[in-house]
């Protein structure tokens, strides 16, 4: 395995000072790899991603991106150093057009890089190219997710973090989203995601982490976690699990 590009150690984070939700969480992700974080509601999965992204109070720990200390950088700096983040709710600007969403995704870029980024995004997705002046609000859940990922990729990040990318999507669309993420990882991007849809997410992932009560509980190869009876019973819910 290549060495991790993003390495978070002993992260402590939360919304209010002195009241952390994430008590001590560590995770790594390497280029070309999909890593999924699973765990029960309230385990601090989303907060952990938001802490790395600079959206919540970072109270302790260490985050290294390609050997550079990026712990607790504000969100607008994180995108500049190469970490893209796709939030769960409100993942696109619904009052803005597809084109404007993409331009905002490249807000930190200069004019020529922005132009190249737009060309790349439209080249990868004919749908976005055809509908560039459509408002975000008319898009379906799956289309929004596609736009959200394309928006986060505008800056050509080395790491992309996704908070429950398949929440609320139809089962058929869930498969498409995961397939897109697989292709993205194959292009060399490190993908770190949080998923309630744990079983399906682990199937496309290389490795996984199980969090509980704001701490690491288990980690390992995705296939091993899927096969692990204890994980299955506690976190994968045996059969289908509502997200």
């Amino acid at each position: 395995m290549t060495s991790p590009i993003l390495s978070a150690r002993n992260v402590v984070a939360g919304y209010a000072p002195g009241l952390p939700i994430v008590h001590d969480v560590s995770a790594d992700v390497s280029p070309g790899e999909i890593v999924t974080i699973i765990g029960p509601n309230g385990a601090g999965k989303s907060t952990f991603l938001k802490a790395i992204a600079g959206l919540v109070r970072f109270e302790g720990g260490d985050v290294q991106l390609a050997g550079r200390d990026v712990s607790g950088l504000p969100a607008h700096e994180m995108v500049r150093v190469g970490i893209g983040f796709v939030p769960q709710t409100g993942n696109i600007f619904t009052s803005l057009s597809i084109h404007e969403n993409l331009v905002l995704g490249g807000h930190s870029l200069g004019a020529s890089d922005l132009k190249r980024g737009l060309e790349r995004a439209y080249g990868l997705s004919p749908f976005l190219a055809q509908r560039r002046s459509s408002l975000g609000r008319v898009l379906s859940g799956g289309q929004r997710q596609m736009l959200a990922v394309a928006r986060a990729l505008m800056t050509n990040p080395s790491v992309i973090m996704l908070d429950e990318p398949t929440a609320g999507l139809a089962p058929r669309v869930v498969g498409e989203v995961f397939a897109d993420l697989r292709r993205l990882a194959e292009s060399g991007v490190a993908v770190l995601m949080v998923e309630q849809n744990a079983r399906a997410a682990l199937r496309v992932s290389d490795r996984g982490y199980v969090l509980a009560e704001g701490r690491n509980r288990l980690d390992g190869k995705a296939a091993d976690l899927l096969a692990d009876a204890a994980v299955g019973e506690a976190f994968l819910g045996g059969g289908r699990r509502a997200s």
Partner: protein
């Protein structure tokens, strides 16, 4: 008669629109009802007065009552008012924001800021009315039975230019796009790399400059008094709420609706009740369409 009322209403409405845009921007981007915004109109008007008094008394331009001095003063007053808005933010609102204050706390703070700003005007320039010029103007007949002063036509035209420029700025510039993005979702805007502090600063600059324009235009067509902004406060909020949280166009149409309803009401009810019309309009909007006329749908 009705034509004249419409012309008068459009003029008042244009001035209210310029002020209401600032109120709407703070509602959307800064996320609080800024009751001190009206005082920025007053400050803009008085700053322009000060600049005009320093300018050499130039000849008036064409049919207008003012010369180049006032036009330059509008620009300087816009810059000065923008600076004042930034100072008030640094002293009051940004401190509260950094402490994670409740939006209502900001609203109450804005009442306090308004009192201070208004009384500073009183202290510096006195309670009496001021005028930019004492030139007398003759109204010209723009349409059959519709008369307007050249200054009023100028104000209306310049207000249109300012609104158009702002529309293009918000629609096409990257900063304008970032402002719209932040109005919808500050967190997502930050994730995109938008520096929210910078957007907040530009919001104050734009609303301060527009407030100054509204103040000067109001001073030019009526007179300057320390309470001139305060008297427009309700109209500004009515226009912003009428327009809905959604858009700049909403605030402009809201402003025109308030101006027109005031002037048209005079045809049906005694003039003394004119000031109550924005109240009535506000109540009707809050009852029947609390999201504003443009709150639900937006322009593409």
């Amino acid at each position: 008669m009705i034509g004249q009322a419409i012309a008068d209403g459009l003029l008042t409405g244009a001035i209210i629109s310029l002020g209401a845009i600032g109120v709407s921007l703070s509602l959307q981007i800064l996320r609080f009802a800024n009751f001190s915004h009206a005082e920025l109109l007053t400050w803009g008007a008085y700053l322009a007065l000060t600049f005009v008094s320093f300018a050499t008394a130039g000849a008036s331009l064409g049919p207008f009552s003012f010369g180049w001095g006032l036009l330059a003063a509008v620009g300087l007053a816009a810059a000065g008012t923008a600076l004042l808005a930034l100072i008030v933010d640094a002293l009051v609102f940004s401190r509260l924001r950094s402490q994670g204050a409740h939006p209502l706390t900001l609203v109450f703070a804005s009442f306090g800021a308004a009192l201070i700003l208004r009384n500073l005007v009183l202290l510096l320039w006195g309670p009496e009315a001021h005028y930019y010029t004492t030139e007398l103007q003759i109204a010209i007949e723009v349409l059959p039975n519709v008369r307007m002063l050249p200054d009023q036509i100028f104000v209306l035209a310049l207000a249109c230019v300012v609104v158009l420029a702002l529309h293009l700025f918000l629609r096409f510039s990257r900063l304008g796009m970032a402002m719209r993005a932040m109005a919808e979702s500050p967190a997502l805007a930050r994730v995109c790399g938008v520096e929210t502090d910078k957007v907040v600063r530009w919001t104050w600059i734009v609303s301060g400059a527009l407030a100054a324009a509204a103040g000067v235009f109001s001073g030019l067509t009526v007179q300057l008094r320390p309470e001139m902004g305060f008297n427009l406060l309700l109209s500004l909020f009515t226009a912003a709420i009428l327009g809905g949280g959604g858009s700049l166009i909403g605030a402009v149409i809201g402003g025109l609706a308030v101006g027109l309803s005031e002037s048209l009401s005079v045809l049906a009810i005694p003039t003394g009740y004119k000031a109550a019309v924005p109240f009535l309009l506000l109540l009707l909007v809050l009852f029947f369409r609390p999201q504003g006329l443009f709150g639900a749908e937006e322009r593409s």
